[in-house]
Amino acid sequence: MTRADFLARLKRGLVGLPTSTAADILNDYEAHFDDGKAAGRSEAEVADALGDPDRLARELKAEAGVKRWTQEQTPSAAAGAVFAVLGLGAIDIIILLPILMGVIGTLFGCFVAVIALFGSGLGVMVAGPFAGFPGGGLAAFFIGLGLMACAVTVGALLSIATILLVNGLIWFARLHYRLLKPALEPHAVNSTSGDPA
């Protein structure tokens, strides 16, 4: 494989990362080829020693996804980290995915319920006093406020649970990736049959 082939495959594998991160990674590997050339090695030798670019891209993407998640705990960062980690193939998709879908579905349902509760609380608080709420306007105001407070509390607890879930998944995947998928491969494997995993 030539330098251009290697970098092109790596770049294709990194699609989806922020452009600055992808450029940074590509710079690293370009410098590696430069250093290899300076040390008197051919492009093919360097590319061979580096390993499979598709696989490296998956690993780099997973690292970047996890890093973003540790910096900003947003839903999109969570989704990015989870999908990047799943992309490693470290997790037994067949077994884990149905469980994961169930958990995610339940969490999503709870979030929708919380939003609905908040909305109805708001409705009672604002509209209640004018709509002849049984017990009077003041009661409607406080019942509505109470419902909204409940919604906020449950929502906060759900967020914590979600964060713990994503962290747990990443921990599990990293652990198993290190254990199951050879981060190190004998060079022979790369030069013969491609990615054995």
Binding site: H32, G36, A183
Partner: protein
């Protein structure tokens, strides 16, 4: 694909080796990769995901050094957390290898004591 114990062992110590190398002096990725691929037979490309992970875990820091020829080069150095991790992992490694060595080098097991209850067939 079953892994040999050798690959498992190498994989486990790769991070420790990088920390130990950087303790001796700041270095750049090509140098780290070529030294470790000589010492423990590994794919050189592996070093980049590992360095990024160690960087995001706060074990190493990077800085650029201007070079007279060509673009500036990215160097890695140990952070304070990296030094601590090295100390902990080195201690763990010594404990582990000592225990394995002890088992490997152990004298033959002492003969099983005679059965004193006389309950032999």
């Amino acid at each position: 694909m079953p892994e040999t114990i050798e690959i498992q062992l190498k994989k486990g110590v790769l991070g420790l080796c990088v920390l130990a190398l950087l303790k001796r002096g700041d270095s750049y990725a090509y140098e780290i990769a070529s030294r470790l691929s000589d010492a423990i037979d590994m794919g050189e490309g592996t070093i980049y995901p590992l360095m990024r992970r160690m960087q995001s875990d706060g074990l190493v820091e990077t800085y650029l050094v201007e070079s007279s020829a060509g673009p500036s080069r990215k160097y890695y150095r140990l952070s304070e957390a990296g030094r601590e991790a090295l100390a902990v992992q080195t201690a763990d490694w010594k404990t582990f290898t000592d225990a394995v060595d002890a088992v490997l080098n152990e004298a033959p097991l002492t003969p099983v004591p005679e059965n004193t209850t006389g309950d032999v067939q």
